[in-house]
């Protein structure tokens, strides 16, 4: 007997979902507190800074959130090690698997097919487990963690780091830290938001990163390649799960809306600061 409810397939592990939530919280905190400093000459910044209890506590929040984000990053790396050991045995196998975040030939093919699809000269490509833009987002975080993290640490402990680099490197670190952060926030709040939440078929948001699962029927159409491979390997049933009850979904949506609102507000604020009062 077929169930009258649609079946759900799990795409994100519980750990990854928790990490993403922590990532969102820490990222928003870092962005909000950091931007008050970057755009300190705007009225917005002064108001926000006061909201955080003044610059000093905003600074503490910033470094606290940074610690959480580094924690998220490290946890993810540890998770990768565990994954390698338990399921793949070697890095090569892991990195070459369908679950790998590394760019491969299919990504290039998908990218080109996507462009063709965009201009109406082909069908929608059969996207797999991870699309190329998702992989781009993933590595953007790696890049950001390296650039913003290292300069951030330099700015956190300037007395220590200037034992190894000249004093003016602090100035350089300031520029790199703040501009890379601008790039990161700008990218996340526009490109990432659009690619995952705002594109019409997902509008207004895609809650899968919180709920972890999506209706199987939708999944079939969204990720035909992954579906095909799961069916082929007979592992599909392994990933069929019960969806969360409506109250949890509701909570997820409230959280999602909050995050989205903060993100979009920041975009507006940054645009305002850049266009009208930049210096």
């Amino acid at each position: 007997m077929k169930s009258k409810n649609p079946r759900f397939i799990q795409r994100f592990t519980r750990l990854n979902r928790i990490l993403h939530i922590l990532m969102i919280v820490s990222f928003l905190t870092l962005a909000l507190t950091g931007m008050t400093l970057k755009f300190s000459y705007t009225g917005w910044a002064v108001i926000l800074s006061k909201f955080f209890g003044g610059f000093e506590s905003a600074g503490y929040l910033h470094r606290f959130a940074a610690t959480i984000m580094i924690g998220v990053f490290v946890t993810h790396l540890i998770d990768l090690f565990k994954l390698k050991r338990k399921e793949f045995g070697s890095w090569k196998k892991l990195l070459k698997s369908d679950n790998s975040m590394l760019f491969n030939k299919k990504d290039l093919k998908d990218f080109l097919s996507s462009l063709k699809w965009f201009v109406g000269k082909g069908e929608r490509p059969e996207y797999g487990r991870w699309t190329y833009w998702e992989k781009f987002d993933y590595f953007a975080v790696f890049w950001g963690m390296f650039v913003i993290g290292s300069t951030g640490m330099t700015l956190w402990f300037p007395e220590f780091f200037t034992h190894f680099v000249p004093g003016w490197f602090i100035n350089v670190a300031t520029i790199v830290h703040s501009d890379e952060a601008l790039l990161a926030t700008g990218f996340i709040f526009t490109v990432h938001f659009f690619n995952t939440h705002l594109r019409p078929e997902k509008f207004p948001m895609d809650i899968i990163i919180f709920s972890g699962s999506m209706p199987l029927e939708e999944f079939k159409l969204d990720r035909p390649d992954e579906y095909k491979k799961l069916v082929e390997s007979g592992e599909l049933e392994k990933y069929i799960v019960e969806p969360y009850p409506p109250i949890v979904i509701r909570a997820i949506k409230i959280f999602g809306w909050t995050a989205l609102t903060i993100g979009f507000s920041m975009v507006l604020w940054i645009i305002y600061a850049m266009l009208f009062v930049y210096r």
Binding site: M1, K2, K4, P6, T36, L37, K38, S40, Y41, A45, V46, S49, K50, G54, F55, E56, A58, S114, L115, W117, F118, V119, G120, R124, W133, L155, P158, E159, F160, T162, H163, P166, G167, W168, I170, N171, V172, T174, I175, V176, D179, E180, L182, L183, G186, F187, T190, V191, F194, N195, R199, P200, E201, F203, E217, E218, L221, R279
Partner: protein, 660 residues
Amino acid sequence: MMKSFSIVISILIYLTSVSAQSKEECLMCHEDEQLRGTRNGKNISVFVNANNFNNSVHSQLDCIDCHDDIDAENIPHRTTFKRVDCGKCHDDIEKEFGGGLHRIAYDKGDPLAPICQDCHGYHYIRPVSDHNSVVSPLKIPFLCGRCHREGAPVQVQRNIPEDKILENYSLSIHGEGLLKKGLIVSATCVSCHSAHKILPHTDPNSTISRQNISKTCSVCHSEIETVHRKIIRGELWEKQAHVLPVCVDCHQPHKIRNVFYEQGMADKDCLKCHENPNLVASKDGRSLSVDHSVQLNSIHNNIACSQCHSEVNVSHVRPCESITHKVDCSSCHSEVGDEYNTSTHGILAASQDPNAPNCKECHGTHNVLGRLNPNSPIFSINIPILCAKCHRAGEKAAVKYTGPEKDIVEHYIESIHGKGLMKSGLTVTATCTNCHTAHHELPHTDEASSINPKHIAATCGNCHHGIQDMFEKSVHSALVTQTDKPLPVCNDCHSAHTIKRTDSEGFKLEIMQQCGRCHEKIAETYFDTYHGKVSQLGYTKTAKCYDCHGAHDILPVDNPKSHLSHDNIVQTCKKCHEGAHRQFAGYFTHATHHDPGKYPILFWTFWGMTGLLLGTFLIAGLHTLMWLPRSLKWKKELKRKLNTDKEEIKGTEDEEQNEK
């Protein structure tokens, strides 16, 4: 041979006879303390103390120079002599003395009349400058007092119009000066009466006659006219002594005190009328009643009515009817008056401005209290209230003022000075007059003004002396920097009336704007750095201009004494960054990424990062924009496909139900 012998003998005898008349010869006998002789029938001691004589003014003289009628060769001498005649040498004094009262009495045979020796002594006369001399200033009152003290034969038996002379003198300002304070220039008996030509005041030749007394007093009180000019009109005082009062009319002889004497136009006379509470001016009906107790409680309690209300004429029944002018405080407070006349207040008053404040506007009239009296309107704590009467926003002075200061009084009260003075009651806190002066207020544009930029540092330095010292060695001081640009002075950074505590957040944040008014570029670049941005968010614990450059002791960075000189900079950083070191101090505190010439690394870093940002957004943005229309179509397709699925499911469900 015999002849020549007799010549030698006679020469020897001659020499001996000559030497018998020398001082030494005389002293051979007169040095004997027991030696007595008879003079004019009296047995007296004829002992002369050679030592004391040799210390006297006459030490160079021989005895016979004065005792010229002595029969030196006869021992014992004869017993009748003339008195020694001092006038033989002191002929000028002899002449002077000759016209005097004492000599006249002596010549008349008055046994009480003194001659030279009575005052100066005999063999042991000391110079007047010698404090041991009986005629030295300090001893004069006692010398004269021998005869002129109360109860002495002269005072009782002779016609002396003054009484208690010595007692009064010793209580007078002169006596006090001389006897209590040892001020030997203070007037003694001889200063007024002269030493030798002593005459009664009725004698026109007397130094104390009505005609001469002012001349006599002004020997010492040479500037006395200027003090008295309003009362006795300068020159007339001396020229028409019969019309105007002379010194002794007010300052009674021998009783000259620090008080005004109850004579003639004294307060009692004035109060006869003015004590009446209903007394009004016939002209305009204003009250002329005076509550004397108010005046007695004022700082002028020892000043008589007529000293302020001058122009009174004692010869009138109503001495005050000759008054034509208002009280002029500057007749006594002349320096203050001069200051006032050149101040804005005084200039306005001179131009008949009805709003211009005069003395009484601030000080009151009969109730004048000193500035140290807490009830006085000019007591430091009360001054802001006093000035506010006209200078509070909307009042008569404030509406005239067109300068940049607003709500002066209100701001002052909230300032550090205002709080210190009015809330904490700290009377040494700067009040209006400390900066603007009490009587010489001028607009800051006036070079003579205490608040002119040229004088501000000194004005503030009156209290903040250490700061002034530091400031005057700094690059901002005109003493150090020669420039035609305006240099900052205290109020440029601290403001005038809104001065805050320098440890208040408001001050700390504002000061950067203050520095930035002149150091525009450098302030702008400061706000590009972490320190600047953070402080812009209202954080005060970060480095602000003065944390690094110093506040009052700012010096150019190339000055070794500067807080930022090569030797000092690390220490300066360490104030906040404990672990600071030389390389750490290499941080650009005024860096900007907009200056490729000065900061190429920062410039290119910034543009590198901006390039990365723009590139990323360009590619991702394009990708997104291209995706959008396709995604819309895909949404419809997806809906359609999903609906078909749902219908299939629904169909199945229907079948199931049908089966049931």
